[in-house]
């Protein structure tokens, strides 16, 4: 029983990270009907940004003297990394997607794959291909409740993920920019006619999604101990499946999908075989596409002919 609870807790924290990344896929898809395959690489760059920022703030000195990295610096690292990733996301949109926005649907999709491959290999060149140990931006504290281990990192992941999602929901539903986003997602041309700056709205959408991915990247590094330039490939794909499972375009759906994928993966690894942990995600993808292609919380859009 404790083992099952432990696996569920592990699955929840992994799922929260998938959820944070899935939000970026879902937002961009909602607005542009584009699957931004470079999103997994923004997540990777976010993790490395956290790594280098922590080093710049002298985390090595804290570690070697046994002191704790101050919490406010940890928050600064998180926010700066999110900012950098937001800038990266907005630049990708500007340089790679905007020029092909009016091209046939396949063109931006292939561009996205190109950007993704470019960033993976640039990452290997710049950061080096070897896995790196993530610095202890948060010192790990363990709690034990009846044999079940909980760490402050897993709790933080959960809290940060929930807080960022709630913030995003507020942003999309209650602010003017969010309202503009929803308008653009319904109809880009009509939104333009209503005086909405569509370019700016799309840019904000990319920046927000990328910032969330960077937060996910840092939490991932803290939780999973090592990061590599290729970490975004599989994690990004799983988050994409999470977005599809929850209903692509739906924010609560992305969160639900992320958590479900995390749980499915962890329980498969724990009780079936770790060899199937990656396969289960894609089995879910196939099942969703066959049975309920709009996803759990997605809406069926009627095409008018």
């Amino acid at each position: 029983m404790t083992e099952l609870i432990q696996q569920i807790i592990n699955g929840l924290s992994l799922g929260s990270i998938y959820a944070l990344i899935a939000l970026g896929y879902t937002m961009v898809y909602g607005i542009l009907r584009l699957i931004n395959f470079a999103h997994g690489e923004v997540f990777m760059v976010g993790a490395y940004a956290g790594y280098y920022l922590a080093a710049a703030f002298g985390i090595d000195a804290y570690v070697s003297s046994g002191r704790e990295f101050p919490l406010f610096l940890a928050v600064v690292v998180l926010l700066l990394a999110m900012l950098l990733a937001a800038a990266l996301g907005a630049s990708i949109e500007l340089l790679a997607y905007r020029p092909v926005r009016n091209a046939p649907r396949l063109t931006p999709l292939i561009t996205a794959i190109g950007v993704s491959l470019f960033l993976q290999n640039a990452g290997m060149l710049v950061f080096g291909p070897n896995p790196r140990a993530y610095p202890p931006i948060l010192r790990e504290v363990r709690f034990e409740l009846g044999g079940v281990i909980l760490t402050n990192i897993k709790l933080t992941i959960f809290v940060v993920a929930v807080a960022l999602m709630a913030g995003l929901r507020f942003f999309v539903l209650r602010t003017w920019t969010g309202r503009a986003m929803r308008a653009v997602s319904v109809n880009l041309d009509a939104a333009k006619l209503m005086g909405i700056d569509a370019d700016r709205t799309i840019r904000v959408c990319f920046a927000t999604g990328s910032a969330l991915a960077a937060a996910g990247g840092i939490l991932f590094g803290l939780d999973q101990i090592t990061i590599t330039p290729l970490m975004g490939v599989l994690t990004g794909l799983k988050a994409f499946v999470a977005a599809v499972l929850g209903g692509i375009g739906s924010i609560p759906g992305a969160v639900l999908g992320g958590v479900l994928i995390g749980l499915a993966e962890q329980l498969t690894a724990g009780y079936l075989s770790p060899d199937y942990r990656d396969a289960i995600t894609f089995v879910i993808l196939i099942l969703v596409l066959m049975i309920k292609p709009e996803g759990l919380l997605g809406v069926v859009k009627q095409e008018k002919v």
């Binding site: 432990q6 999973q224 970490m231 075989s273």
Partner: protein, 392 residues
């Protein structure tokens, strides 16, 4: 299609011309023909192919440094039968096609009498096939996959094989640590890991122990909490993790985080400074088998460590020590073979017995593998320390 084929043909022709001119300039200083050139030239040319760049760059660099240190010492002491040794090193960039090219070039252009290399088994296989075809003896310093020396009778190695390491850790866990139940966590994407795990399981159960649970992961995984949680539910006294250092480091941290306080056991895939960088304190008290321990007490090893430090300002790795021994075995064989050519040199290497190397006593067996002992290291305060020697 026709045009494409023609351009390919002309490319081949061009490269053949380039190759031929290369060959001429390369042989300029040496003898006239390959057969007589070897015995007439004043220098013995030894080829080394190694990954000097790329993701496994430190493998090749460490080996090359140690090999050059050995050759320098041999030359200072008068060389081999009055002839000086010259080492030519070519970079493989960790790529097996490049390894085959490098060996061809060493034999054709540099006219080497013997080849040393590689670290990675897949590269040694590629290079070994070329050496075998051209009948030039090759010694791999540190490729542990059994297939490497099965290529043919001109391919040797001075290290032990994968299955042996599994046996070593099983013997150590059963007889020294007195464990009854051990869990196995293997990397299913890695033949090395699977080989070690199978050998460990066979030897440990044969010695009266039992395997508590078998779990697996795939190279590149970052989340190991499911496996560790499953192992925690069993009475395992240790976990045998014969993987590579980056995953092992993360597994150790995950185990510590989930409150699983048993030592990890592993093989030479752990031997990298990054292991402790990633695993940190969580690895203290863990054991792994290796070819060499820098703090081992034999005088020859201590002299090697001191000389290496003096020359390069860093401590040698196990791979470096094996490169030194590969060179040592070759020099010993060169002395005995005299000027008899590649076949005599091959026979001399095959006959090496009880050679006192820095990684222990080396005897070449009928399968051209080294019969030698392994060392077990214990990680204490973030540093691997010599713990025991396990004989074959």
């Amino acid at each position: 299609m026709y045009i494409a084929r023609r351009s390919v043909l002309s490319l081949i022709a061009l490269s053949a011309v380039a190759f031929a001119s290369c060959k001429r300039s390369g042989a300029g200083g040496g003898g006239t023909a390959a057969s007589s050139g070897a015995s007439l030239s004043s220098e013995i040319v030894v080829g080394h192919y190694a990954s000097l760049t790329g993701s496994t760059a430190h493998f090749g660099q460490d080996t090359d440094k140690a090999l050059r240190l050995l050759v320098q010492e041999v030359n200072k002491a008068g060389g081999v039968n009055g002839r000086q040794i010259k080492v030519v090193t070519l970079d493989t960039r960790g790529d097996s096609a490049e390894a085959a090219n490098a060996v061809s070039r060493l034999i054709d252009v540099e006219k080497v009498e013997a080849v040393i290399g590689e670290v990675s088994s897949s590269l040694s296989l590629a290079g070994g096939r070329v050496a075998q075809r051209r009948k030039i003896p090759m010694i791999s310093p540190s490729s542990t996959n059994p297939k490497v020396t099965e290529v043919g009778d001109y391919v040797f190695r001075v290290c032990f094989l994968d299955p042996f390491q599994g046996k070593v850790m099983a013997t150590f866990a059963r007889n020294t640590l007195k464990f009854d139940k051990v869990a196995i966590l293997r990397d299913v994407k890695n033949d090395y890991s699977i080989g070690l795990a199978d050998a460990f399981k066979a030897a440990f159960t044969a010695a009266g122990g039992s395997i508590a649970v078998e779990q697996s992961y795939s190279q590149g995984d970052t989340d190991f909490s499911a496996q560790v949680t499953a192992i925690k539910g069993t009475p395992a006294q240790a976990i045998f993790v014969p993987g590579y250092y980056s995953e092992v480091g993360a597994i150790a941290r995950t185990a510590a985080r989930l409150g699983l306080k048993v030592p990890l056991l592993g093989g030479d895939g752990w031997d990298a400074p990054d292991l402790v960088k990633i695993g940190g304190d969580a690895l203290n008290g863990s054991y792994f088998s290796n070819h060499f321990a820098p703090d081992v007490a034999t005088p020859k090893a201590q002299k090697f460590v001191a000389d290496f430090k003096a020359q390069y300002g860093q401590e040698p790795t196990g791979l470096g020590a094996l490169g030194y021994d590969a060179g040592g075995v070759l020099v010993e064989a060169l002395r005995k073979a005299g000027s008899g050519g590649p076949a005599a040199l091959r026979d001399a290497i095959a006959a090496v017995k009880d050679y006192e190397g820095v990684t222990g006593k080396i005897s070449i067996d009928a399968a051209r593998n080294a019969q030698k002992s392994a060392v077990v290291l214990k990680i204490e305060a973030g540093k691997p320390k010599y713990e025991a020697t396990i004989a074959p």
